[in-house]
């Protein structure tokens, strides 16, 4: 009996080890799909990918306003990107429908659009009527700083989206297996308790 248990146990270990080994060397492609959207000026850029980095190509993207009304739709290009002009200043919900029942969404709050877009102050109005002075006005400086910040921050924003899409970490996997065996322990414990109680009853009788 003991030998048998050993065989089963080592089989399990070998199997799990093999599985983990294959996982760690195999292509890091996952099953979850994510979409990320950011605002630049009056345009919203979106990037869609499966976790692990593979782009979601040619997948339909639908934009809803905060009441759930469909504003527009489009398809991601071969880089998984899709951009559109902001149709309306409101909370935007960007929904990606990848094939086979995969779906992801991203919310753009109204405040983000207002901050990024030229909606607060009209660019064309400020320029021609501006005073012919040597220095720049406060608004202009602010505008220039924001524009260059947007440009400089873009790679960082991208990096952040990429880091959001990493494959499951090793600790998560081991954790999950741990949970399963913990549950097994619990189940055995309760089975054992009820069995003990039964045995006690028989003894009492």
């Amino acid at each position: 009996m003991k030998k048998r248990h050993n065989t089963r146990f080592s089989f399990t270990i070998i199997f799990l080890a093999a599985v983990i080994l294959i996982w760690s060397h195999g292509p890091a492609l996952a099953h979850k799909v994510t979409i990320f959207a950011w605002v630049e000026g009056d345009t919203v850029f979106t990037e869609s990918k499966f976790s692990g980095g593979r782009k979601a190509v040619n997948a339909p993207v639908v934009i809803y306003d905060k009441d759930g009304k469909k504003l527009l739709e489009g398809k991601t290009d071969n880089k998984g990107e899709f951009s559109f002009k902001i149709p309306k200043i409101t909370d935007l919900r960007v929904v990606l429908n990848a094939a086979m029942g995969h779906k992801a969404e991203w919310m753009i709050p109204e405040s983000e659009i207002r901050e990024a877009g030229p909606f607060v102050e009209k660019k064309s109005a400020a320029e021609p009527t501006g005073p012919i002075s040597v220095g720049l006005s406060k608004e202009e400086v602010q505008k220039i700083v924001e524009d260059s910040l947007d440009k400089k921050l873009r790679p960082i924003v991208r990096m952040m989206t990429e880091s959001k899409n990493t494959k499951p970490s090793f600790s998560e996997i081991i954790g999950g297996i741990g949970y399963i065996f913990g549950l097994m322990g619990l189940a055995l414990y309760f089975k054992n308790r009820s069995k003990k109680r039964k045995d006690l009853k028989i003894q009492d009788d």
Binding site: R8, I20, I22, M100, G176, I180
Partner: protein
Amino acid sequence: MHISEGVLSAPVLVTGAALAAAGISVGLKKMDYEKIPQAAVLSAAFFVASLIHVPMGPSSVHLVLNGINGLLLGWICFPSILIALTLQAILFQYGGITVLGVNTVTMALPGLICYYLFGGFIRGENRLLSLVAAFACGLFSVLLSGILVAGALLSTGQSFIAAAKLILLAHLPVMIIEGIITLFCVAFLKKVKPELLGGVYEKTS
């Protein structure tokens, strides 16, 4: 194979949950002392298998291992797969909590069907026949899963034929790989521990 959160309509989710609950209750009833560790090991294998990805077209597909789960566990594959799916949903965001019922049914039911379809041949004396049946068990469990997923996606307005075609095409390599894995598992178990293949329901029924 996992259907994401928010894709399916409420009636489909409720039907899936009800079917899953029925399967799980039967499975829990059949789960006796010796089956608990077995179920845990197979649950862990299922949990990890989803991390092995095969790149396919715009998406990627992964191993399912529901055939071997069903074959070795019978009805108990319902609770076993549910636990693995719950952990995948929590830790990796594969699928989702509300879709758990549907996902459990789409993966466990094919395992159960294959268990009844091929179990007899696999336990049989004829070695060649049992190996062929093992291959078919792995292959058909994924095939049936794909058909069930396509059926569930019907409610989203996707045409069944188109969805089924896409899913089956994408899973073709997985079907073959699963078939081979199931074949090797059966060959191994027949040699090392044949009662694991036969014992599961001889005792319970």
